[in-house]
Amino acid sequence: MKWDFIDEYEAWAFKLSLGLIVVFFVAVVGLAALKGIDVPTCVTEFKPFEKGELVQLGPKEYQLKLLARMWSFEPREIVIPAGAKVTVYTTSLDVQHGFEIEGKAVNLMTIPGAVNKAEIVFKRPGEYRIVCNEFCGIGHQTMYGIIKVLPEEEYEKWREGSR
């Protein structure tokens, strides 16, 4: 295809637009790789489950099996120490839901018949709100939960108390 059908200015507009877009894309994907902030990928090693729970795998290492159902998360309240690394697996027992953690770049669709996965490190203590962000029926607006990230000493005290 010969490009003399557009004039000089138009050719510049074309090159600049294409250049801008390529720069944007390289910046976004490059930073994603550099900072290790990625989108969820295809998970085949984990099958859909029917019970939600938090399992401690090691010091400060957790596996969260998060189950979404109309209209609550299971478990609804999660308590972990600051600095904990949590691997979340999530699925749904009934319809499609969403799982989003406020202030974290974690946003997972929770789909029946599929398992979604994310790895999250909670450095800063505080209360992180989790909300369902996909319409799941008439109780959707009340579906939320909380992740409490406690400073280490406080977490130890809490664990003593909860035993």
């Binding site: 969820p40 859909p48 319809v95 969403g98 989003e100 974690v106 599929a114 939320y144």
Partner: protein, 553 residues
């Protein structure tokens, strides 16, 4: 060009079904934005939670599917006849209209009786009444008949005009319909092979992730189906309204061809947060999404150059002097420039959404409706309303009852949508979800509430602007015509840089580009479906939105 009375009337009824649907849709929009802010508590006006989500379903389906499809099909009939100077097949025009109308009525019945409160994405295993899916299918099949009619007419024109290039507005018509046809294949497969048999109870199992993937094959190119007819108006009608010419015709042709090529293989950028699709292919489709931004950037260049040309013809000087001399007080200019300004912000926020991991911050939050009320909710919708005034004048000799009101409501709507979207985007960035009856949510903070009230103010302004349009438009409809002639001229703009015989032949070969688009779709979607099939399962389930119990067990 002489347009027969039947086609003028049918086009009028396409507009009418569209605008009446939109009127119902925007009324629910107002109630939603007020209910979200908690300004307006449910109960006062039969508006409980059930009604909130029913209204939300109506708002999406009526505004984004019924209004747009009817308006676009009707408008493109006129563009086709005027630019090709050839008649469409009358029988097919009627067949298409009534198929679409029956489909719409069936789906509307299901939604109005609360049997299809599944929102406009109808994700399974939330189940709607079978008539909802069948109605949606008929609406799409009806639009396919319009495509068939248009293609037949164009092929006849080709035979009678060997060697002539397709007129530029007709290139845009082909882009709209090529994108629509390729896109609707995805949703047709979803609905015909999975949702209808499952909703009828013939099969018990459904794979929700597969359904989502097929839906978004359709769901994103759908936005170019909304946008491209607005581009058609901005390229070929707006420059003459502004008093100038289209800057570059070859560039316009190139842009519409690029849309045919890149519009469809981009759907998984709505599924960045989904399980069962590898992030490599999410990144590939993110890149292809970025590629569709290129023709939009070229459009910004071409239209800005056209506006500058018009401004200078009207006596504007200096670097920015030409902006002042544009006809800001002309209701048609106002009705095109306001949506173009909204689209600048809409396009930029769209790049944010497409940006792979950045999407994690905004996915399914209020940011998203903030974005698309700037694009389809203003760039497309307001352009279509402006075209409705123009069509009433061109087809029936009825000029707007009040040109002042027509100018005013365009700018008012722009102000409203900018306020509305700003509020929505602010709460979205704070992680507040979309499509949620937030007035009843226990988790809303005080600061978020403030921005939800900002959105309510913007939404109210938009509603007032629409009300002004509604009154002005219907008074115009019932006016006596000033002139009644069968001659219709849409006054397409001339080009400043005309095509002068050196356009590569391949740019006028639609079959070639559609074939290339199909190859691109196969290459970019085959691995996605491979992943979905190996990582996700069908589930035996069907749920009403009103109860957590499985309807199948």
């Amino acid at each position: 060009m002489r347009i027969e009375r039947y086609l003028r009337n049918v086009t009028f009824w396409h507009m009418m079904v569209g605008i009446l649907s939109l009127s119902v849709g925007v009324t629910y929009g107002l109630l939603q934005v007020l209910a979200r802010a908690g300004v307006y508590k449910y109960g006062g006006f039969v508006y409980d939670t059930k009604a909130y989500y029913q209204g939300l379903t109506l708002h999406g389906v009526l505004n984004a599917i019924v209004f747009t499809t009817f308006f676009i099909v009707g408008f493109l009939y006129i563009v086709t006849e005027v630019s090709l100077k050839k008649k469409l097949n009358r029988g097919l025009v009627y067949l298409s209209f009534f198929t679409m109308l029956i489909g719409t009525l069936l789906a509307a019945w299901a939604i109005l009786t609360n049997n299809a409160t599944v929102l406009y994405t109808f994700y399974p295993p939330l189940k709607a009444h079978p008539l909802f899916y069948i109605g949606a299918t008929l609406l799409i099949v009806g639009s396919w008949i319009a495509i068939l009619n248009t293609v037949i007419t164009h092929l006849k024109w080709r035979k009678e005009n060997p060697g002539r290039l397709t007129p530029p507005p007709m290139v845009a018509v082909h882009a709209v319909y090529a994108v629509w046809f390729l896109a609707t294949i995805g949703v047709a497969v979803e609905v015909l092979f999975f949702l209808i048999p499952w909703s009828l109870g013939l099969v018990k199992s459904i794979n929700p992730e597969l359904a989502r993937t097929l839906f978004w094959w359709f769901g994103h190119p759908l936005v170019y189906f909304w946008l491209l007819p607005a581009y058609l108006a901005w390229y070929f009608i707006m420059p003459r309204v502004a008093g100038g010419k289209l800057y570059s015709e070859p560039m316009a042709r190139l842009v519409f061809i690029m849309f045919i090529l890149f519009s469809v293989p981009v759907g998984t950028h709505h599924q960045f947060s989904d399980p069962g699709i590898s992030n490599t292919w999410k990144a590939v489709q993110a890149f292809l999404t970025f590629m569709v931004a290129v023709p939009s950037l070229l459009t910004a260049f071409n239209l800005a150059a056209s506006l500058e040309y018009a401004g200078r013809v009207r006596g504007g000087n200096g670097l920015f002097g030409w902006i002042k001399t544009l006809p800001w007080g002309d209701y048609r200019f106002a009705g095109f420039i306001a949506p173009m300004i909204a689209f600048i912000f809409g396009g930029i926020s769209g790049i944010v959404n497409a940006s792979y991991n950045v999407n994690q911050v905004v996915h399914n939050t209020s940011w998203i409706p903030g974005h698309f009320h700037l694009t389809v909710g203003t760039a497309s919708a307001m352009t279509f309303l402006t075209l409705s005034y123009i069509l009433l004048e061109k087809l029936f000799g009825k000029k707007p009852w009040s040109k002042g009101i027509a100018t005013l409501h365009s700018y008012l709507w722009l102000a409203g949508v900018l306020i509305f979207s700003w509020g929505m985007m602010q709460v979205g960035r704070a992680g507040i979800p979309r499509r949620t009856h937030l007035g009843l949510s226990p988790y809303i903070g005080a600061e978020e509430k403030v921005f939800m009230i900002v959105s309510a103010v913007g939404g109210t302004v938009m509603f007032i602007a629409f009300l002004l349009f509604f009154v002005n438009f219907f008074i115009t409809v019932f006016k006596r015509p000033e002139v009644d002639s069968e001659e219709v001229d849409l006054e397409f703009a001339e080009a400043y840089h005309k095509e002068d015989g050196n356009l590569p032949k391949v740019l006028d070969n639609f079959k070639f580009w559609i074939a290339l688009a199909v190859i691109l779709i196969i290459v970019s979607y085959a691995p996605v479906f491979f992943d979905v099939f190996r990582a996700t399962y069908g589930v035996p389930g069907a749920y009403s939105p009103f109860s957590p119990s499985n309807l199948i067990r």
